[in-house]
Every structure is written in structure tokens, then in C-alpha cells.
């Protein structure tokens, strides 16, 4: 290799690196826009593992409370929905949850909420939950690895977390969820 072609190659090097890096960034941005890549996404280590042990505080009489051992004994999949009366995205999720309730049993965990507020919320927006308990201090939420609400977990028989969605449910999420249940 003579010195001229070598010099040309060296000149081309920064250009090549720029093109490569630019292409990489462009790909990242486009998949970010399409929703395939989310840098804020938290990959929970509890996925495909057994649920943590917990006991919830009861809400009030019409609502049936539950705990981790009841959840582990189920023979059908259960959707665990963390929600709160003070959470606006939870309201937007409610119509989807109510539709889903005919196909899948949904159990609610009210996160850092008050009993009378939960009651009001469910009377106003409808109640999709078969069982309902509350996580007053938010410590159970931390054990599950939630970072905000609403968050949804699909629990398959044996108490294994099969699916996790950290945003309000939408129809694309529902279709991937139902494909797992069937």
C-alpha cells in the first residue's frame, strides 16, 4: 500500500465512523418513534419468576381481599392491576379493564390510597375487580418492582409472573396479553 492510498483511507476513517454512528442513532430514533425501543423501560428481574409474598389490607365489605397464597392457588391466569384513585391514567385504562374482565379475572391492588377514595373511584368509574386489596405504604409495590401506576402483571397458575406492562393498557397491549392467556 503506498502512502497516498493510505492517507486517503485515513481521511475516510472519520467520515466512516460518522456515517456508522449516524446510522445507529437514526435507527434508534426511528424505533423510538415506532415504540419498539424505550430507553426508560425497566426490565424487571421478577419476570417468569414467582410472585413475592404479600398480605394486603382489606378495603371494605363488598370487596374481597386477597394475598399471595390465594393468588398462587389459582388454576387460571389472573391480571394484577396496580391502580389508585388519584391516578389519571388509571381512569383512562378503566374502560379497557372492564371489557377485559369478561375474558380474564382482574384483581386490583390500590397503591397508596384511602379506603373511602377507592370506594368512590370504583362507584364512579365501575369495578372490574374480582378481588381487591390495598397497599397503603407502597412497600408491596416496591417488592413487585413497580415504578409508577397503573402497572399490570399477568400471573399464570403457580404464581408465576408471565407478562408485565408498565403503562396504561391499550389495545395493542391487550392483544399481546390475550395471546398469552389463550
Amino acid at each position: 500500500m503506498n502512502s497516498l492510498t493510505r492517507r486517503r483511507l485515513l481521511w475516510g476513517l472519520p467520515l466512516g465512523i460518522t456515517v456508522l454512528a449516524g446510522g445507529g442513532f437514526a435507527k434508534m430514533l426511528s424505533s423510538l418513534r415506532k415504540g419498539k425501543f424505550d430507553p426508560h423501560k425497566i426490565d424487571l428481574p421478577n419476570l417468569n419468576k414467582t410472585i413475592p409474598n404479600f398480605t394486603l389490607e382489606a378495603v371494605s365489605s363488598p370487596y374481597k381481599n386477597f394475598n399471595s397464597s390465594i393468588l398462587k392457588q389459582q388454576t387460571k391466569p389472573v391480571l394484577i392491576n396496580f391502580f389508585a384513585s388519584w391516578c389519571l391514567p388509571c381512569i383512562s385504562e378503566m374502560p379497557i379493564l372492564k371489557q377485559l374482565a369478561s375474558q380474564l379475572s382482574i384483581w386490583g391492588i390500590a397503591y397508596k390510597d384511602k379506603i373511602n377514595m377507592i370506594d368512590l373511584f370504583l362507584k364512579h368509574h365501575g369495578n372490574p375487580y374480582q378481588f381487591l386489596g390495598q397497599d397503603n405504604q407502597g412497600n408491596i409495590g416496591i417488592d413487585w418492582g413497580i415504578s409508577g401506576i397503573p402497572e399490570n402483571f399477568l400471573i399464570i397458575p403457580g404464581g408465576i409472573i408471565r407478562w408485565h406492562y408498565a403503562k396504561p393498557l391499550d389495545y395493542t397491549a391487550i392483544s399481546s396479553l390475550l395471546s398469552l392467556v389463550r
Binding site: 426508560h40 426490565d43 424487571l44 421478577n46 416496591i142 418492582g145
Partner: protein, 152 residues
């Protein structure tokens, strides 16, 4: 006017040093040494809500809860390593602001050393080339040089 604003900025920057996300002094542990440990652990943990802040810096509710958890575990006599592992068990390595060294992060951690070695190598080859004596001029070059000299 300029002096006043300069002094003002200086004062602001002094006060902001102590600005942690602590919501109230009740959060602090009574034991100063334990509190210092809690702050050091918290500074290594990512707030999952405002993700580029540590839980010590963040004002989010979740960060507040996690700060509380860290302090409870310290009072229970756990080591720093155990507390961080407790967090990693729940939120994954993502919660650690400095990722651990493993196969996927090897390039990230080794990049400074790699860059240094590459730099040294390229500097070494360049210097060696500079030390070489230039070749003597051939016939054509000599003629061209003479011509140029005459022109000037």
C-alpha cells in the same frame, strides 16, 4: 449591576450544594454516621421515575419511599452490598447508576483503556515515522528544485 448579579449567583451556587431531595428533616436518621451511609447508598441508586437522578436527589414519591427503605435496612444492620442487592433483586441492574462489570458492559468499562492504548500506538507509529531521514532527491526532483530556485 454586574457585580451584584455575580455575588448573587455565587451565593445561590453555595446554597445549592446542600440541596438534596429530602422532603423533611424527619427522614434523616438520628445517627449521623448511619445517615451518611444512607446518603452514599442512595446516591448510587437510580430514581425509577426521573431516571437520571439518584433517589437522594429526586423529589418523586417513589424515591422518597426507596430512601425510607434504605434507612430501614441500615437500621436493621444490613451492609451496603446487601441493601443494593435488595434493590437489584426488585428493579434489576438498571437501578444502579454505575453498572456492574459483566459481559454486556465490558466494552463500556474498558473503552477508556482501549482508547488510551490506541492513542499510544498511533502516537508511537507517527513519532517513529517522523524520525526517519527523508530520501535523497531523484533526478526529476532536482531539476524541478533548480527551476523553482531560478524563478524566485
Amino acid at each position: 449591576m454586574r457585580l451584584i448579579s455575580f455575588v448573587f449567583l455565587l451565593l445561590i451556587s453555595f446554597f445549592s450544594i446542600a440541596a438534596y431531595g429530602l422532603n423533611s428533616p424527619n427522614e434523616l436518621l438520628p445517627n449521623a454516621q448511619q445517615e451518611k451511609r444512607a446518603e452514599q447508598i442512595g446516591a448510587q441508586l437510580r430514581c425509577l421515575v426521573c431516571q437520571n437522578e439518584s433517589i437522594e436527589d429526586s423529589n418523586a414519591e417513589l424515591a422518597k419511599d426507596l430512601r425510607k427503605v434504605v434507612r430501614q435496612h441500615i437500621q436493621a444492620g444490613e451492609s451496603d452490598k446487601q441493601i443494593i442487592q435488595w434493590m437489584v433483586d426488585r428493579y434489576g441492574n438498571f437501578i444502579r447508576l454505575s453498572p456492574p462489570f459483566n459481559f454486556t458492559t465490558a466494552l463500556l468499562w474498558l473503552m477508556p483503556f482501549l482508547a488510551f492504548i490506541i492513542g499510544c500506538l498511533s502516537a508511537f507509529t507517527t513519532f517513529r515515522k517522523m524520525q526517519k531521514e527523508p530520501l535523497p532527491l531523484n533526478e526529476n526532483e532536482k531539476k524541478r528544485l533548480e527551476k523553482l530556485m531560478k524563478e524566485s
